[in-house]
């Protein structure tokens, strides 16, 4: 009975558990039925209401491009800044939700009279296809007021179109300083594929040349965006989120706008280059190259048929306007080279200031050839030989020095190698050497005395850039410190930077070498018979050297325009404490003293007016060189191996070379 009772109880308990499970099943069923009813109520009964809510409920992302930093001259005057423009953008998500294809829409818009550029729109759509659809595609930048009004008026028909504000590069001075500034353009597909551009998107503007390229990271800032709710007709009904853009850094260059303007005016319509720099610290005050181009082409018109035609024209122009002659052009230096030969000979002790006379001889017989001097100078000493630019003297001095020592010395002065300027695509050039001749002249690979003789006056296989020459002469004038030329002074604002890329070559020269050369170059400009009298400036001790570089062997010259000589003038001032060095090169005009020296004078006049009469030379230019490492680092010949500069790290510079636009190399 007891066991039976237990059994019953047990069964009752089992039953109770089963009942409880059944109860749970019913509860669950009720829960699911309740949910089903709720879904019915929302989805079927109230469907219309929620459908309307969904239609009025679209989010769009509208980018707010960060304004690119302005570029200022050394006194803070604007060279490049931005102006607001409006762009028509396409919201691809909205378009897809309406079941339409972008290409189809573009055709329709063009048919309706909106002037879109098929080619660039196609490229952009293609580039953006890998990006999330909520990133809009720019259909047309620089939209006119009428075009914006057109789009706004058709918001209902084309809810996928939007207007975005976009700052665009503005060049108040036109083509001024174009080669230094460079230009901006849309990032290329090749660049996007590389890891260092990971944080860029298709359509982003990026510096493609000049300062815009080298200092892109400082200039570009960071884009912001707005996330807005728009209704089914594209009207904005609210803003969900706004991330303000971080503007790029404004950059101050070492360029002096006044000197730059004078330099470009002086070149006028002639092909050539001018560089003015401070030899005490490498700061470039002016850098001009003519012919130039209009950088606004790339930021404003490149996506129009006219703009592309203009660009093709630039590429096809035989005068190569895109090419920066000051750093990419390499030329024989003519007689300006004599300063370098003289410096080497003085340092080697081949001549001394007291014993430096050599015959002119109206030239020199070398083997079976007679190499002429342009004048008859008797037995000049070094000073006089430089003042009157006696070739005969230097033929003999060059032979004494010999090609090996000449090569070694000019290389120490930084020639035939890149100066390390913070601009892309600098060209190294060549200095004469046995190896060079053997390489480029396989028919007559042996170095002969004749080669040494013409090398002594900067002809033959000399091919260096104007920038290299002015750096070398300026460096000798300040006693043998060859600073890295640069155009970047500082990036303004929080997190800014100053130029730290100076890696000077230091070749301590004897005091008397420097004295003799300074005084001889002063004589060129200020003494009777001097070849550079046209550069004389009242109240400023300008010292210089003319050069007239033959483009082709005299025997073969036809008198055609492009066979005429290049006119050089390289100089510095004031003589006893050089603060500015200027090189002028004008292609195919004739004598350096006649064509280039007056150009330099114009620059010195402006310089004197600005800096000397205001007696603030020291305040403006001098302080920076006192701190320069060159002065304190003693007499090492090799540049100090300092840590890579944060401003132009080596890697960035290398990138510059690989990513440089093709058009600059031909």
């Amino acid at each position: 009975m007891a066991s039976r009772g237990l059994d019953l109880l047990e069964r009752a308990k089992e039953a109770a558990a089963t009942d409880r499970l059944t109860l749970l099943q019913y509860l669950l069923l009720i829960g699911f039925i309740g949910l089903g009813v709720r879904f019915w109520s929302l989805q079927v009964v109230q469907h219309a209401k929620y459908l309307r809510a969904a239609e009025n409920n679209r989010i769009r992302l509208i980018p707010i491009p960060a304004p690119r930093g302005a570029i200022l001259d050394r006194h803070g005057r604007v060279i490049v800044d931005n102006r607001p423009t409006l762009s028509i953008i396409l919201n691809r998500e909205e378009l897809r939700a309406r079941g339409r294809k972008p290409q189809e829409l573009v055709e329709e818009l063009i048919a309706q009279g909106l002037a879109l550029d098929r080619e660039s729109v196609r490229q952009r759509l293609e580039a953006m296809s890998a990006q999330p659809a909520y990133y809009p595609v720019v259909l047309k930048e620089n939209a006119t007021v009428q075009e914006v009004a057109w789009v706004r008026a058709r918001q209902v028909e084309y809810p996928e179109l939007d207007i975005m504000e976009q700052p665009q590069r503005r060049y108040p001075h036109g083509t001024l300083l174009a080669h230094v500034l460079g230009y901006v353009g849309e990032i290329s597909r090749e660049q996007l594929a590389r890891p260092e551009f990971r944080d860029y998107r298709p359509g982003d503007l990026i510096g493609r040349a000049g300062v815009e390229l080298v200092y892109d990271r400082l200039l570009r800032g960071r884009d912001g965006y707005r996330r807005v709710i728009v209704d089914s007709t594209g009207h904005e009904v609210g803003e969900i989120e706004r991330v303000d853009p971080i503007p790029g850094h404004d950059i101050k260059l070492t360029i002096d706008l006044d000197l730059q303007r004078v330099a470009e005016e002086q070149l006028g319509g002639r092909r050539g280059a001018i560089v003015a720099l401070n030899p005490q610290n490498g700061e470039i005050l002016a850098l001009a190259s003519h012919p130039a181009y209009d950088p606004s082409l790339f930021s404003q018109r490149i996506n129009t048929p006219e703009g592309r035609a203009e660009y093709r024209q630039l590429l096809a122009d035989p005068d190569r306007p895109l090419y920066n002659r000051a750093i990419q052009g390499i030329y024989p230096t003519g007689s300006t080279w004599k300063i370098l030969v003289a410096a080497a000979a003085l340092e080697e002790g081949l001549i001394t200031p007291e014993h430096s006379t050599l015959p002119c001889g109206r030239g020199l017989q070398v083997g079976n050839r007679f190499v002429r001097c342009l004048g008859s100078h008797g037995m000049p000493d070094l000073h006089r030989a430089i003042v009157v630019s006696c070739d005969g003297y230097f033929y003999r001095l060059g032979l004494r020095l010999g090609i090996e020592r000449m090569e070694a010395w000019v290389k120490r002065f930084g020639l035939g190698q890149r100066t390390g300027i913070d601009l892309p695509d600098e060209v190294a050039g060549f200095v004469p050497s046995r190896a060079l001749k053997a390489k480029f002249n396989p028919r007559d690979p042996r170095w002969r005395d004749f080669d040494t003789v013409i090398a002594s006056i900067g002809q033959g296989s000399v091919a260096i850039s104007p920038l290299q020459l002015v750096r070398a002469i300026g460096g000798i004038a300040v006693g043998g410190v060859f600073h890295t030329p640069h155009v970047f002074k500082e990036a303004l604002g929080p997190g800014g930077a100053v130029y730290t890329g100076d890696r000077p070559l230091i070749v301590p020269l004897k005091k008397q070498t420097v004295e003799v050369l300074r005084s001889a170059m002063w004589g060129v400009v200020n003494e009777g018979g001097g070849t550079g009298l046209a550069a004389r400036v009242e109240g400023l001790d300008v010292a210089g050297k003319t050069g007239t570089a033959q483009v082709i062997a005299k025997e073969r010259a036809t008198g055609a325009a492009h066979h005429r000589d290049h006119a050089w003038f390289v100089s510095f001032a004031p003589r006893d404490n050089p603060q500015i060095a200027v090189v002028v090169l004008i292609e195919n005009v004739g004598f350096g003293g006649r064509f280039s020296a007056p150009v330099a004078r114009a620059l010195y006049e402006t310089y004197k007016e600005k800096y000397v009469q205001a007696s603030d030379v020291a305040a403006v230019v001098a302080p920076s060189w006192r701190e320069s490492p060159a002065r304190s680092s003693g007499s090492r010949e090799e540049p100090p191996l300092a840590a890579p500069s944060p401003v132009v790290p080596e890697a960035a510079r290398r990138r510059v070379f690989v990513s440089a636009p093709q058009m600059n190399r031909r």
Binding site: L9, L24, L28, Y50, L51, I59
Partner: protein, 352 residues
């Protein structure tokens, strides 16, 4: 099938990201794990319960100093490219721990002709469930912590509770809820209050506020209509109105894209799984089996009912994923372990 639909909808809501691929990988892992848990006799699994439970607690402790923080909650442990969420596994661990304990008490009481659990049993059981709850609250993850209560409640209920204890429980929950609501501004964080208030006035939701999610979810569901907008055509989710459309709000994506018909299918499938599981519970060979199934069913049904109620605006937003469909590897694997256990109890329902 539900899980595959989940993957599809994750793809639909986050097409350009790698979510759906990962989910597929996890699904593969989960299926293997389920097969294993279904075939090994559940008694052997239950024997290992203290270790599994202990291991879960250890991971929960580990997550506090080493976890990855996502949305302010430190719930994830990173292992290589994948990360796991120990709290999901702790749910299974707790069920495995509670089942043998309650079953033993049940058998003992049965011998003593005592139909109900004693107060002491209830307290010990609460302790077992309480430990992970406390650790999870420290992460802090209130939503996940809440899911332990239905597990405990369901298992206690089936193991036998005195009617007056049940009544007391119901009353105290009701009192706690109303007190909590009265003092909501003291007890809850502002966003939590917003999430609750939106239930009553969805249209008034602040567009930038937390309640907005619920309203957006309701719009998504409502705009789906009878037959839906079609797969991959839901504007709500694709245009990013729905936050976390691939996890907690995956149900809303289904509702938007497949409509009432699709949703009804989903509901029927879930109901079928759960009700059938409870039938297995009735047929189980012993009380351990019954209780295991009950625990898993309680866990899953709480998740399903609360999550779906959440997307239709019946309960506030708490971070509870929809089993089988939401993105999340740990939850998926844990769910499949649970389903494996149910299958296991069914497979071993005959005494040898």
């Amino acid at each position: 099938m539900l899980a595959l639909l989940g993957v599809l909808e994750i793809y639909s809501s986050q097409p350009q990201e790698e979510f759906w691929k990962r989910q597929l990988i996890w699904l593969g892992v989960a299926l293997v794990v389920m097969f294993v848990t279904a075939t090994v006799d559940y008694h052997r699994i239950v024997e290992a319960a203290p270790f599994i439970y202990g291991g879960c607690l250890f991971l929960l402790v580990l997550v506090l100093p080493f976890g990855q923080e996502v949305y302010g909650t430190k719930a994830w442990l990173g292992i290589g490219r994948f990360s796991i969420q120990p709290s999901e596994f702790a749910k299974i661990g707790t069920i495995l721990m509670l089942a043998p304990f309650l079953a033993e008490r049940w058998e003992e009481h049965r011998r003593e002709r005592e139909p109900y659990l004693t107060m002491r049993d209830v307290l010990v059981a609460s302790g077992i469930a309480g430990a992970p709850v406390l650790l999870i609250l420290l992460e802090p993850d209130v939503g996940t912590a809440l899911t332990f209560f239905p597990i405990l409640g369901g298992m206690l209920f089936v193991a036998g509770l005195r009617p007056r204890v049940i009544a007391a429980g119901v009353v105290s929950v009701a009192v706690a809820l109303s007190l909590g609501w009265y003092f909501r501004h003291q007890v809850l964080k502002p966003y939590q209050v917003q999430r609750i208030e939106v239930i009553f006035h969805p249209e008034r939701a602040d567009r930038r506020g937390y309640g907005y999610q619920t309203y957006q979810s309701m719009i998504a569901v409502g705009s789906g209509g009878l037959t839906g907008r079609g797969l991959f055509r839901g504007t709500q989710s694709r245009l990013r109105f729905l936050p976390k459309a691939y996890t907690d709000f995956i149900g809303a994506v289904v509702a938007e894209e497949l409509g009432f018909v699709g949703m009804l299918g989903v509901l029927v499938l879930y109901a079928f799984i759960l009700l059938r599981a409870l039938n297995h519970a009735k047929l189980a060979r012993d009380s351990v089996g019954t209780l295991l199934v009950t625990g898993v069913v309680a866990l899953l049904s709480f998740h399903i009912l609360v999550n779906l109620s959440m997307i239709v605006g019946l309960v506030p937003v708490i971070g509870i994923p929809l089993p089988l469909m939401s993105y999340g590897g740990s939850a998926l694997v844990a769910t499949f372990i649970g389903l494996g256990l149910i299958a296991n109890v069914r497979l071993h329902r005959y005494v040898n």
